[in-house]
């Protein structure tokens, strides 16, 4: 063995010294207006993207208008209320995640910050799973009912065909959950050419959460004194 890490450390240090000497930061970059623009942009950067925020607010406004105008029709009112609660919960979950992500303190020691990032990843996967798997049951039928009542003035609850359609959809939605988990476990690997499909499959089957937990355990082991 002709060379040791200690010897390479000296060579590395020489290289770092050369780097320090050669580095330069153009003077024109040290401008106060850059700082000002950064301040404004950081402040303006909302917890949601502008489009998502606009859609969310518009949905809330429409739903609340609907609730106001259908207060005397309990079936439609309750249906819209379910949808409203679901939209509010989904929006709050998204805002909280964005807020937590934006408030990560990158100046923390590596193990501490990485554990926080991983915990956020787990929370995000769980939110996605809840939305993806329960969405079939919780909002699909209420959405159709509210759209028909709000846009066309048609109360679908009065239609026997729709009641049968809704029953089948709810049954299908309930069946969809175990079916989606089974399908993702069975065929997730084969679908891995598409990264989106792979991510969805990994989320549904819990592989993402298992990997995140494994990484948290790795951080914990790394932090405990090595024997």
């Amino acid at each position: 063995m002709s060379i040791t890490l200690e010897e390479l450390r000296n060579e590395w240090s020489d290289r770092s010294r050369r780097l320090d000497e050669r580095l330069r930061l153009s003077a024109h970059l040290l401008r106060d207006d850059w700082i000002e623009r950064q301040r404004e942009r950081v402040w303006k950067l909302g917890p949601f993207g502008k489009f998502s925020m606009a859609v969310w607010i518009a949905t809330m406004v429409l739903l609340n208008l609907f609730l106001g105008t259908h207060a005397n029709q309990p079936a439609l009112f309750v249906t819209a209320l379910v949808l409203d609660v679901w939209v509010i919960a989904a929006g709050i979950a998204a805002v909280r995640q964005q807020h937590a992500l934006r408030n990560l303190d990158f100046g923390l020691p590596l193990l501490e910050l990485q554990a926080q990032v991983e915990a956020l990843r787990i929370a995000r996967i769980r939110s996605f799973n809840r939305a993806f798997l329960t969405g079939q049951i919780v909002w699909w039928i209420p959405f159709v009912v509210v759209v028909f009542a709000g846009a066309f003035g048609v109360n679908l609850y009065l239609s026997p065909q729709f009641r049968a359609f809704a029953a089948w959809n709810i049954a299908g939605g309930i069946a969809f959950i175990p079916l989606a988990i089974w399908f993702s476990r069975r065929y997730g690997e084969r679908l891995s050419r598409s990264s989106i499909v792979r991510h969805i499959a990994d989320s549904i089957t819990g592989r993402d959460i298992a990997a995140a937990r494994e990484y948290l355990e790795k951080l914990r082991r790394f932090g405990s004194d090595a024997d």
């Binding site: 060579e11 590395w12 580095l23 990485q114 790394f222 004194d225």
Partner: protein, 175 residues
């Protein structure tokens, strides 16, 4: 959180800017990736500067931020975090000025190749060790005890040493 003092930040960034390149060089082989990473580091330093309370040296804090960004980038969380950051030309110009671009002798190339084989946490230990930090300083940046740093560094040194020996024996050409 107090509003950050921009002039002070730029002065400190100017003084410690080498940290960004060193960490980026430790985590990315590819020039384009390093450019992205240095951008993210510069912006995240600015975003986090309001929380810097002076309890640790600025260089220690800057290493923490730069390495946390690099590890998140390495683990695929980079895009999500980047989406919460505003971008500006300072970050671009900092990143474009990459003075480490592939300047290295044979030994350094071998070392780089072996470091590339380490996971992100051991890689952080080795990079800080090579930069001449003490066990106490490394412990402060990584968030483990100095004794743990020493033990883990000994293991990594042995691992790298075996890697050197393997490469020497195989007389492999280093790309």
């Amino acid at each position: 959180m107090n509003p950050p003092d921009g002039t002070r930040f730029l002065a400190l960034l100017h003084e410690h800017r080498a940290i960004l390149y060193k960490v980026a060089f430790g985590y990315c082989r590819n020039h384009e990736d390093r450019v992205d990473l240095v951008q993210e580091m510069a912006i995240q330093l600015w975003r986090s500067f309001g929380r810097y309370d002076g309890r640790v040296k600025f260089s220690t804090w800057a290493y923490r931020v730069a390495m946390n960004v690099a590890i998140s980038h390495f683990r695929g969380e980079g895009r999500r975090i980047r989406d919460t950051l505003p971008f500006d030309e300072l970050a671009y110009e900092l990143a474009a000025d990459d003075p480490l671009a592939e300047e290295a002798g044979d030994n350094m190339r071998v070392l780089r190749r072996l470091i590339d084989g380490l996971d992100e946490l051991n890689r952080a230990l080795v990079l800080l060790y090579l930069e001449g930090h003490t066990s106490e300083e490394i412990a402060e940046i990584v968030g483990i005890s100095p004794g743990n740093v020493t033990t883990r560094m000994n293991r990594v040194k042995n691992e790298l040493q075996r890697g050197f020996a393997r490469l020497e024996n195989s007389q492999e050409t280093i790309p």
